[in-house]
Symmetry: D2
Subunit: 338 residues, 4 copies
């Protein structure tokens, strides 16, 4: 059991918001991107991946976002619909914006990078007019992804979504998801990130993302100080991740829980995060103990970095449970637990 209390009368377990993108992942592995000749096309974007993950776990999911008015927009919308995600609030950009594009470069199982084309991106053209209070108030959780704060008018759409969530007792999950595109300065990142985090209930990010967020707030940063600061501001759970060194969740009652990665052979060095987040949030909404949420998250992450896609390869509950069972049988009960 965890301490989060959700309103079970709500229509949606989660309403995610922000970036829906298209990923082009090379089939030719372990080569510089410039030399790759063949690509698979997938739905992408951190909050979109999380939405798919939650839907695969059987949760009721809605999404507030903007996609391009073309075949790429149709592709991602149809993909959402196939997954059972509500797309009534996924609107189309009307000024020639293009859907955000991500080209992944997989140099080796441990060296990956990402090339994004976010010029005049459809997701960043979301406006305050596209955000409905009636929709948000039907959610247990409203998820904000940091990238949606990177430019106006999407930035203000997110601030309005936050306001509607707070007014209607919707829990706010803030996933830092920092991408260095379209931001004008580091100070700007810190200001907007910290503004959301001062008002969120669940806060998830990497150590380096917390550093960015806290740049205008204090020096001598470390996990304990960060966790305490954001818990003091009202968050109920603060999760700080450290890549292959694992992650720790801090809670209001002063407890903390740590998890390590499962020892899988990775195909690519990214994509685990969205699996982790969706599985962790799934556990939370199921009322699990925090440590079980973390283990479920770590397992989903492990499964995804061994897969080619992010969204498309999101596992369902049965698959994650089977994976954990298999790993424990092979490596011992405490394989991921610290």
């Amino acid at each position: 059991m965890n301490s989060m209390m959700f309103d079970h009368s709500r229509k949606f377990d989660i309403v995610c918001s922000g970036r829906i993108a298209v990923d082009f992942n090379p089939v030719d592995l372990n080569q510089p991107l410039e030399d790759c000749t063949t690509f698979k096309k997938y739905l992408g974007g951190s909050p979109a991946n999380i939405a798919v993950g939650m839907a695969r776990f059987g949760k009721k999911v809605g999404f507030i976002g903007k996609v391009s008015k073309d075949q790429m927009g149709t592709f991602v919308t149809k993909f959402f619909e196939k997954e059972g995600i509500d797309t009534t609030q996924v609107c189309q950009a009307g000024q020639g914006e293009f859907i955000g594009l991500t080209y992944t470069e997989i140099l080796s199982p441990t060296e990956s990078s990402i090339l994004m084309n976010r010029n005049f991106a459809a997701d960043l053209s979301l406006t305050t007019d596209d955000v409905s209070e009636d929709y948000i108030k039907q959610a247990k959780i409203f998820l904000i992804s940091g990238t949606a704060l990177a430019a106006s008018p999407s930035r203000e759409a997110m601030l309005l979504g936050l306001r509607y969530a707070k007014k209607n007792n919707v829990k706010v999950a803030f996933v830092l998801d920092y991408r260095g595109y379209t931001w004008k300065s580091k100070e700007e990142v810190s200001l907007y990130y910290s503004f959301i985090a001062e008002n969120s209930d669940i806060l998830i990010g990497s150590r380096s993302e917390f550093d960015l967020m806290e740049a205008t707030l204090f020096n001598d940063k470390n996990d304990k100080k960060s966790a305490q600061f954001w818990l003091d501001k009202g968050n109920q759970i603060v999760v700080i991740t450290h890549g292959k060194d694992g992650s720790t969740a801090y809670t209001q009652n002063g407890e903390s829980f740590s998890i390590k990665p499962f020892p899988v052979k990775s195909l690519k060095g990214f994509g685990g995060g969205d699996g982790y987040t969706s599985a962790f949030l799934y556990g939370l909404t199921e009322g699990w103990d925090i440590i079980d949420c973390l283990e479920f998250g770590s397992a989903s992450a492990a499964m995804l970095i061994a897969s080619h896609a992010c969204s498309q390869d999101m596992p369902d509950t049965t698959a994650v449970k089977a994976f954990i069972k298999k790993e424990k049988e092979e490596y011992g009960e405490m394989i991921a637990r610290v």
Copy 2:
């Protein structure tokens, strides 16, 4: 005596920030602007006028702002210097921005309007790089004017200024000063205004400006509800103005104080607000009772709407006191007090 506690070791009584403009006020009175042939040029812009007002009252004043790199920028900077205002943080725009221009139309003593040219305005090009924590922390009060939130990057510069003020126990005065230029939506106004007001100590605006700020927060707006809401958020004084119907200051201890305008013959229907604010803040920093601050503010406002300029005609302490004395002798002690 009032309840505001200022740190008297600080170098500046107030550091204002935001818009410095140039006003062109017609000499030909009571005519449509299109028919006016001759104009006087004055320094303008609400926070700039307040800075001049405070300086004339003998206060130590600094300013954070951006002006055009031309004779107009030189004019306002020299004007500030002549008034004894510190201009070390008044920088010059480098991308061809022009100083904000205001053309006033005085159709009659009670009908005035304002035509602004704020296209690519120098003041809105202030960036986070132009805001110094070392400077702000030398102030007793940091004043933010709502117009500076109307567009990026000035918007983020103000958010950073607010952060630095809070970190260094500088009191924040937020003057709503709404101008409908460059804002993208009403929701945007409400979001950014309320974000500053949740963090300010002194909040001053008209009833219609409070309505704008509260648009995404609650319905059934009225002064008592507004005052209580913002006092609950931590403001120590909330002043809501109603033009010729007077204004009221609400304080943390549940008291309220009202003032009426002095019965002067106005030349123009604007410009009183900045006189009011500077005189009210002057009284506060002097430790006066709130009602005396209000009376001083109302007197300064009355003197300014009978004058041609805003900045240039700001009165000094002696003049305001003489004005009040004369008015009271003529109309009675309670002439402005409710």
Copy 3:
């Protein structure tokens, strides 16, 4: 008699196009602009001044341009109407553009400069949709001013106007009128200027403007070479001005005619050019000898640099003739002729 043949069945003697601005000229003379306190407001902009000049000489004048949707736009439109200029094609900008503003600095009778605010200027927002072939074909002369080429979409509106003029045997007068605002590079100036000049019939500019226009065309520039180049391209008259050293008109038949300034006491060092051009074009449309056109132009220029305004002080035919008569009586018949 001159060699230009005009179609006298046309409704308009001239249709000017491009910039309509508002000038603020200081009343306080011989001071830095920053120290000037009082300004007179006038209609300005080179092609607008020329339109007024032609109208004062009794010519039928039309104008294609865009002004701001505010009192400044109303001012200039009403001014045109009062002068008898057709304003059916003077439209209003709808996206918040402001009319171009010019602040003149008169340091001494010989030292003047100009500060312009052309950020998001209304005149540069003229589009191809605002240009009517039916209107242009009613003109004897279509006048293009170089400043209108400084940015899109005004640039393309001018190219379309040129096309319509050529299709309908309307003579094209190209007044170089270079202003260093909004142009992206010197090459750009040369390319667009030379494109218009290759298609014009009457070409008027200063030596330095010809240098700019010819920058991508040839080296070793001089008046004779310039004149021959542009006459070879089809121009019938090429006028190159040299400020106080006078100006020369070159014609298709190999002749050239020179004129000097009249020896007046100037008030300001600018504004003569538009008087010169309008008076010269007036003479041309009247069928005068080129040297008489030049003398009339030089006289009008002399009268204007001794006046405070450009547009408002444009002389009528009687006044110019009286001025010439007086000058000749005082200084001799050949006072301006070379």
Copy 4:
């Protein structure tokens, strides 16, 4: 033999300019783009494809263009280098521009469409500073592609390139290549297209592209009228294409030559044009009779619409000759000739 005279002392047979793009062509054929899952990445963009085609025929080729400063830019530059194309004038965009992207949709062998992402495209950021007169004057032919005129500053870079070509007796080939992206109005297309075409030597486009170009020039358009108009302006060869109905070349001496497509089974409905143009220009530079140039062009086009890529599948001389021989053996000598 044809009438074009080239200066054989020049270093480059052709210098192409403008768009270099990346094509993503689906491997899953005959499906809506939204349903395609796998894509091949190719160098694309009409002038880039023509450059590759000319290089494969053994010609010396240079290119003036701008690519993104990332792996996509590296990919196309390396591809050019591998083909022996000079890339000293292929520069990198420095403001976050992305290379133009093309997604092809192949619904059936006869139904294809193209989805482009040209937001803030690298190729359109080419400036006048990127265009070298010294480089252009080393070419026999300077090729301009219409898409490079679609926006500033690339537009002005092309106008400058044209000027340098004319100054140095470089033949100008203008390939209309109209794409409806970034153009502001149809009039704009007509104005800039016709300005280049008035100065070109070889003019190649489809009937609908000629219609666009001539929109502001005359009505009642047809091939003969178009050809005569542009030949009168100085073009030596005008080629007007009609897709599967073939194409016709018109020459200065009043002759015309027509060709039909070869009867191949197409894989996709596009990509033939660039093969056609490169092969036709190849024939011209070899001094072939016009009809032989056309046949060579038609053969190359036929080979390309049966291939998956544009650039990568460009044939060499031997292959085209073999294709023609085979076709003639199968269908008769006059299979493509009219």
